[in-house]
C-alpha cells in the first residue's frame, strides 16, 4: 500500500498529491511516469511524475479529473492509500546540449511540464515557460512556475488575466519575434502538441512531445500504447513517453485516444451514482 501523505486541490479540476514510495522517489527522473491502481477492482492508469523528494521518499502526481479513475482518485484524502504504485517507468527526458528552450504546457500538461522546466532551469538552461488555462481562476502553481524558468508566459483562453489566447499564440509570438530555441518541449492535449509541432516543423526547431496514451501494464507487455513514429510502431511505455514530435502520427494517436469513449461515459455514470446514490 502506498499512503497519500499530502493532498492539495489546485483548482476545481486539478489535484496535487504526494505519495509515499521511497524506492520510486530514489530513482525518478523528469519525463518518467508511474502506473497506479486505487483498489482491487481498479484499472491501471499512467500518470506522469510531477516531482519527487528523494529524502522524504515521496513522489508527486498532479492529475486532472477527466474520467472515472481520476475522479475516484480525487475522492481519496491524506492518510488513505493507493493499492498499487509502480515506477519510475519510461525513458527519462534527454536534455543534453540544450542552452535555450521553450517549454509549452497546456491543460493538465502545465503540471507535467513543470518538472521538465524546473530540471532544465536547474541545469542552467534558459527556459521560456508558456502555460495556458481556461481563465484566471484556474491558474495553478504560478509561484512554482515562476521559479522554474527565465520567462513565464501565462495565457488564458478568455483573456481574464490580461493575456488572451492559446499557448500556441504565445509561442508563435516568440518565434515571430525571432527568439531562437534549441528545442521546444510541448506537453498537453494532443491537439495542442500537434499544433506546436506544425509551427516548429518548418523552422526546423527540434520539438519533443510527451505522449500519454491509454496503457494497461505500462511495461511493454500489452502494446495498447503503441503509436507510429517515423513510420515505425513504438510503445509509449517503454520507448517513450518522449518522442520527436515532428515524427509522430498525431491523427492516429488522436483516433486511438477515443477508443473507449463510450465505456468512459458509462464508468462516469457509476461514479455519479456512487456520489449521489443514483440521484442525478
Amino acid at each position: 500500500m502506498f499512503p497519500i501523505v499530502k493532498k492539495r486541490v489546485l483548482n476545481p479540476t486539478v489535484t496535487y498529491m504526494e505519495i509515499l514510495a521511497p524506492h520510486i522517489a530514489k530513482k525518478a527522473k523528469p519525463g518518467q511516469f508511474i502506473m497506479l491502481r486505487i483498489n482491487e477492482d481498479g484499472e491501471r492508469i499512467p500518470l506522469t511524475i510531477a516531482g519527487y523528494d528523494r529524502e522524504a521518499g515521496t513522489v508527486t502526481i498532479i492529475f486532472q479529473k477527466v474520467g472515472y479513475t481520476t475522479y475516484a482518485l480525487d475522492d481519496l484524502n491524506e492518510g488513505d492509500s493507493l493499492l498499487d504504485f509502480v515506477g519510475p517507468l519510461g525513458v527519462p527526458s534527454e536534455f543534453e546540449g540544450l542552452k535555450k528552450v521553450c517549454v509549452v504546457g497546456g491543460g493538465l500538461g502545465v503540471a507535467i511540464a513543470y518538472p521538465q522546466a524546473k530540471a532544465l532551469h536547474d541545469m542552467g538552461v534558459e527556459v521560456d515557460f508558456i502555460v495556458g488555462f481556461k481563465n484566471k481562476d484556474l491558474i495553478i502553481l504560478e509561484e512554482e512556475f515562476t521559479n522554474a524558468c527565465t520567462n513565464l508566459f501565462v495565457m488564458t483562453d478568455d483573456g481574464s488575466n490580461g493575456h488572451k489566447g492559446f499557448v500556441t499564440a504565445a509561442l508563435e509570438e516568440q518565434l515571430n519575434a525571432g527568439v531562437k530555441y534549441d528545442a521546444v518541449i510541448a506537453i498537453g492535449p494532443l491537439i495542442m502538441m500537434k499544433v506546436v509541432c506544425d509551427m516548429t516543423r518548418d523552422k526546423g526547431i527540434k520539438t519533443i512531445v510527451s505522449m500519454n496514451p491509454i496503457m494497461v501494464d505500462g511495461t511493454g507487455m500489452c502494446g495498447c500504447c503503441r503509436l507510429t513514429v517515423d513510420g515505425q510502431t513504438r510503445f509509449a511505455c517503454v520507448d517513450g513517453p518522449d518522442f520527436d514530435g515532428h515524427l509522430v502520427d498525431f491523427d492516429e494517436v488522436i483516433a486511438r485516444s477515443r477508443m473507449y469513449r463510450d465505456e468512459e461515459a458509462e464508468s462516469m455514470k457509476k461514479h455519479e451514482c456512487r456520489l449521489t446514490g443514483g440521484v442525478r
Binding site: 511495461t219 511493454g220 502494446g223 510502431t233 477508443m259
Partner: protein, 464 residues
C-alpha cells in the same frame, strides 16, 4: 489386473453452448471413481517412458498406483515432491506431446489420462489436506527471483525447500505471471492459482508485487546493494509481436496479450463492476494458431461476439495449440480459417476496424521448423468483415532487464542466453529460464527450467 479399456475415461465438461457464454471452468474434473478407474489403466511399465517425457519428472506410475488404491493424499505427495504446481499442470500441460505421448497404452487405443488424474489428485489434496508444509530452517543465503510466473515460482519453491531466503519480484500487481494475465479463468481458475502460490509462500518465499526490475531497481543493485547472492530471471516473454501489416494501429486491433490481460487480469468481462473496459465486436478475427490464439478466440466468444474466426496461415495439422484447446474451441463454435493470412486491416472514417483483407495460402516445401512453408496464392485476396482483430502470433522477451544489466548476453531476438542444464547466464550468479530464455513455450517447460536453475543456484552458493 490392469483395466484394459482402450479409451480414456472422458472428462466431464460444461456443455459447449452453455460454457461459451460463461467464464467458469470448462473441464469439471474426474470423480474419485473415474480417477481410480483411469489409474488402473496404467501397466506400470518397468522402464517408465512417461516419466522421461515429463519436464519435471513426476514419478507417474508410482502416483497412479496410489490413486488406483484410493490413496489420494499419498499420491499427491508423490506428485508434489517434484512438481510444485500440480493443479496447474494437470490443467494446462500439453500431455499429448509429453508424458502421454510415451504411454504404452497409446500404441493401441488412448494413453492413460495422466494429466486428468494429476489434476484430480491435486484438487483432492487442496480440498482435503490440512497439513501445513513445514517451513525449512533458513540457511542464511538470499536469492532474488524475477518474475512470479511458472519458472520463478518453481525456482523459488525449490530454493525455499533447501532453506534459502527467497524474494520474488513481480512487475504486475498480482503474482502468477502468464497464469493470471494470460490463461483464462475457464481453463485455469484464478482462485486455484492463488492457492498454489500460497503453498509456495507458505515455504517462506516473499513475493513483492509492483516491482519492475530494470526500472524500480536493477539486477545489479539487487546483487550489489541488497545482499542477494544469486538471482534467477524468469521474466517471461511479455513483448507482443505484430505482423507489421497496414492498419494494425486501428482501433479494435489488440495484441493477444492486451486482449487477454484486460479480460483475465483486469476482469474486463465484469465491466463496469471492474473498471477496465474492453471492446469486442460482433465479428472477431484472431490471428494465430497457438494456445494463446485459442484462449483469445474463446474469450471473444464469451464476451458476446457472434462470430469468431481463428485465422491461421498453415493447416490444421500444424496448429501449435494443445489438441484439447482446438477441440474445445471448435465445439464452442469458433470457425477455423486455415491456410489464410491477413494482408491488411481496413478502418472506417473514425479509425475503427471494419474489415480485414486476407490471402489464401498453400503449403510448399518444409521450412527450418520442419513444417511445410505456407506460400500465398497469388490473386486470392478477399475481405472479411470484422470489427475486432486480435493478433496472437507470438511474443518476445521483454528487453527491460537485458537493457539495464550490463554483461547479460542475449540472442539476437532477445532471449537471454542460458545453459540448458543449469540456466547459467553470462553473468556470474545470474541464472535464467522459461520463456525469457526460450521465447514463448509452455508452463511446464518453464517449470522444468526453474527447477534446474534452483539446483544450480544451490550448488553455486554452496561452493562459493
Amino acid at each position: 489386473m490392469a483395466n484394459m479399456r482402450l479409451d480414456k475415461n472422458p472428462m466431464p465438461e460444461q456443455e459447449p453452448n452453455v460454457r461459451n457464454k460463461n467464464f467458469k471452468e470448462v473441464a469439471l474434473g474426474y470423480t474419485a471413481e473415474m480417477a481410480i478407474d483411469e489409474a488402473k489403466r496404467c501397466l506400470n511399465c518397468k522402464n517408465q517412458p512417461c516419466v522421461s517425457g515429463c519436464p519435471v519428472n513426476v514419478r507417474i506410475p508410482e502416483f497412479l498406483s496410489l490413486v488406483a488404491e484410493g490413496k489420494f493424499l499419498e499420491a499427491a505427495e508423490v506428485v508434489k515432491s517434484t512438481n510444485s504446481l500440480p493443479a496447474i499442470c494437470g490443467r494446462v500441460c500439453p500431455q499429448e506431446t509429453q508424458c502421454e505421448k510415451f504411454c504404452i497404452r497409446g500404441k493401441k487405443g488412448e494413453p492413460v489420462g495422466i494429466g486428468r488424474i494429476e489434476r484430480f489428485v491435486a484438487d483432492y489434496a487442496m480440498a482435503n489436506s490440512k497439513e501445513q508444509p513445514q517451513v525449512p530452517a533458513k540457511n542464511g543465503h538470499k536469492v532474488a527471483v524475477i518474475g512470479s510466473g511458472p519458472a520463478g515460482l518453481t525456482c523459488a519453491g525449490d530454493l525455499a525447500k533447501k532453506g534459502y531466503d527467497v524474494t520474488i519480484f513481480e512487475a504486475l500487481h498480482t503474482a502468477g505471471g502468464v497464469l493470471v494475465y494470460g490463461i483464462p479463468e475457464f481453463r485455469l481458475p484464478k482462485a486455484l492459482v492463488r492457492e498454489e502460490i500460497a503453498t509456495v509462500e507458505a515455504l517462506g518465499v516473499k513475493i513483492i508485487p509492483d516491482m519492475v526490475i530494470g526500472k524500480c531497481i536493477t539486477l545489479d543493485e539487487l546483487l550489489d546493494e541488497e545482499g542477494f547472492e544469486a538471482a534467477f530471471i524468469g521474466s517471461g516473454a511479455g513483448l507482443p509481436n505484430f505482423q507489421k501489416i497496414p492498419g494494425e494501429n486501428l482501433m479494435g486491433v489488440y495484441s493477444a496479450n492486451e486482449f487477454l490481460t484486460r479480460i483475465n487480469l483486469m476482469k474486463a468481462y465484469d465491466f463496469p463492476n471492474h473498471d477496465t473496459p474492453i471492446k469486442v465486436g460482433k465479428t472477431v478475427a484472431v490471428i494465430g494458431g497457438g494456445n494463446v490464439a485459442m484462449d483469445a478466440a474463446r474469450c471473444a466468444k464469451r464476451m458476446g461476439a457472434e462470430t469468431v474466426y481463428i485465422v491461421y496461415r498453415r493447416s490444421d495439422a500444424e496448429l501449435p495449440a494443445r489438441a484439447e484447446e482446438v477441440h474445445h474451441a471448435k465445439e464452442e463454435g469458433i470457425i477455423f480459417k486455415m491456410l489464410t493470412n491477413p494482408t491488411k486491416i481496413l478502418g472506417d472514417e473514425e479509425g475503427r476496424v471494419r474489415a480485414m483483407e486476407v490471402i489464401e495460402m498453400e503449403l510448399g516445401e518444409p521450412d527450418d521448423s520442419g513444417r511445410r512453408r505456407p506460400v500465398p496464392k497469388a490473386g486470392s485476396e478477399y475481405e472479411m468483415e470484422v470489427q475486432t482483430v486480435v493478433v496472437g502470433i507470438g511474443t518476445s522477451p521483454n528487453p527491460l532487464i537485458k537493457s539495464t544489466t550490463p554483461g547479460l548476453e542475449t540472442q539476437k531476438w532477445g532471449g537471454i542466453i542460458a545453459d540448458e542444464e543449469t540456466g547459467k547466464t553470462s553473468r556470474e550468479g545470474v541464472y535464467a529460464g522459461g520463456d525469457a530464455v526460450t521465447g514463448a513455450a509452455t508452463v511446464i517447460l518453464a517449470m522444468g527450467a526453474g527447477k534446474k536453475a534452483a539446483a544450480a543456484i544451490d550448488e553455486y552458493i554452496q561452493n562459493k
